[in-house]
């Protein structure tokens, strides 16, 4: 199960992670819906792009620009959070959406926890695979912690000051 578009849905994608004895060139990518590491995509691109559906995931130290020419080939792009405190994935997501115009599913994988979900959806993630030891129903609640935000990001193209008619000082008379 994952969270997608603010709902808990079944998921039939598999995330391929290279084991120690495997290499990007030689690893066997099983049939079906697989999200492969960027390195595997780069090594086996000719074969993989023949597939009807393929996904790719970026590690937090990899650059989204590496997918520039292929960006619309993927049914899903995932960004891995090796630890929830590694915030590079937020900028990767923002760049995928805002700079590389990626419009497909953008999924957060790895150490994905409830208290980061609100931020993640703001920078462009629309799918989340929360850590399996936590209740996914609880994680879903994290998407609605706040009902208003100040600044622009991918989800709100306009900052609050361009969206709302805000009031200035009304307290002048009290002094």
């Amino acid at each position: 199960m994952i969270i997608k578009n603010k709902a808990i849905v079944a998921d039939d994608w598999t995330v391929l992670r290279l084991q120690e004895n495997e290499t990007a060139e030689s690893v066997h990518v099983a049939a079906g819906k697989v999200i492969v590491p960027l390195k595997v995509w780069q090594a086996q691109r000719d074969a993989l792009q023949q597939r009807k559906e393929i996904g790719v995931w970026l590690a937090s130290d990899e650059r989204p620009e590496a997918l520039k020419d292929d960006i619309q080939k993927f049914s899903v792009i995932a960004v891995d959070f090796p630890k929830f405190s590694d915030g590079r994935g937020y900028s990767i997501a923002f760049n995928l959406r805002a700079r590389l115009s990626y419009t497909g599913e953008l999924r957060a994988i790895g150490d994905v926890l409830r208290d980061q979900l609100f931020y993640m959806q703001r920078v462009g993630f629309d799918a989340f695979a929360p850590r399996p030891d936590r209740k996914i129903e609880d994680a879903l609640k994290g998407l609605s912690d706040f009902s208003e935000v100040y600044q622009t990001s991918f989800d709100r193209r306009l900052p609050l000051f361009r969206r709302a008619q805000r009031k200035g000082n009304q307290a002048e008379s009290s002094q």
Partner: protein
Amino acid sequence: MYRYDEYDQQIVDERVRQYRDQVRRRLSGELTEEEFMPLRLQNGLYMQIHGYMLRIAVPYGLISSQQMRMFAHIARKYDRGYGHFTTRQNIQFNWLKLQDTPDILADLASVQMHAIQTSGNCIRNITSDEFAGVAHDEVVDPRPYAEILRQWSTFHPEFAYLPRKFKIAISGSKEDRAAIYAHDIGLAVTKNAQGEIGFRVVVGGGLGRTPIIGSEICEFVPWQHILTYVESILRVYNQYGRRDNKYKARIKILVKALGIDEFKRQVEVDWADLKGGPGTLTGQEVDRVASCFTDPAYETLSDHDSKLNEFKADNRSFSHWLQRNVRPHRIPGYVSVVLSLKKTGNAPGDATAEQMDFAADLADRYSFGELRITHKQNLVLADVRQKDLISLWQEASVYELTTPNIGMLTDIISCPGAEFCTLANARSIPLAKLIAERFESLDFQYDIGEITLNISGCVNACGQHHIGNIGITGVEKKDHDEWYQVSIGGAEGNDSSISKIIGPSFTFFQVPEVIERLLQVYVRERIEAERFIDTVRRIGHAPFKDHVYAADFIAQDEEVADKHIVAPAQYEVPYFSPRF
């Protein structure tokens, strides 16, 4: 000052609800401490020696009397009757219980306050000049921009898990009083030749383990573009700042590694498609926020008060106070008053609940209901009529807030140190007390003149020791005893510099004697009206070092062999502190 509208209030209220639930999950075991830690840190909650310490944001140091009374309330209800004002214009409470903290945040939200991003690897509270809006040398009032940046940085989704903490300071005067060169980003609001407002942007400054003076990345960013420009700096840092070693994770290390030119190039590449985009600031928004910072209802007054002069002539203490603690104001007949939290014997920056309530009363009666917290850990009443100075001084003296030592030797800047902080190697507050007692004589202090003395209990530099004329740092030695490094030559402001260590470290009781010897060299060598820092810069470190290490130190350490004895048992503090 800025007043929340319904949007600001809603965001803070929702934060309280979110945080209350996080605490509930922690207490029920649903969250591990490892998972809870970054969540509580983003809310300024540290686990310290005695329990939880909460750091509350005072955005750019500006606070209303009502908010100050709320601090007094928190001090009484949840803490031990006092709070500690910090070098980043915030306040810390040291003795809290985790289960009380959601209620404290709810209390704070009721007076438009919060503890959002006062810690953690995110954009911290934005600091500014304590005389913003009233300073005689101000070019542009930085407060509206500080507030706009506060809102922009609050819960910024992309920059909540940076490689390390991120501090922004903003100044709008000719003289930098916000230490902008010692910050991750320093902003100087200014005007160009055409009279247009913009920002000189300095990046990569910082203290801590690797003190570095910031470098100018852009001479003039027009005000419309400041949010997107800062966003690009943060994005480059978020992606490329080191995450493998927390001691090399601040932006200053990245800027040094890339060089300012390459860093700037990367920022401008990122900025290219943001510039002029929807994040661009509007004149309407600046006007809206600036409408909260218009002048209070100043009276038309003249600058001369004969009563004041008479009283001054008769009263030496008052005259000293006028000289040191009262500053000029851009409006005739008005002054700004610094309430000193540096009375000898007290912990620098500490205020009791009674003092807080009283300072709030003073603000209501004499300064349009507002106060400022300074990064030198004092309080400011910014808009006082000259003719009120005598009564203000008389009243404030009763509450020990008129020590005439602002900018002088005993106006010591100090972190909480080893009695409170788990990071510290050595005590800071008792050392500040020892030093203040040794040099309490006002005649001596006035002879020495302007000088800054900063104490940090460890290399993390919360006491900003690198930019003190004299800086003292607690260092660790293998025997777990307290040792202090002494450095000289640091300064903040327009001619910022990083101090240099004079030599091998000293024991707790040797430090005052070291300072005495440093001052002896200064008195011997100074010419005309030279300040301590000027003499250091002119003659260099060598004469100071030679004199300090020339003679042996008389052993005093045995006098208080067991430091635990002087700490009242009920506080269970490891060492004594003047507060107890």
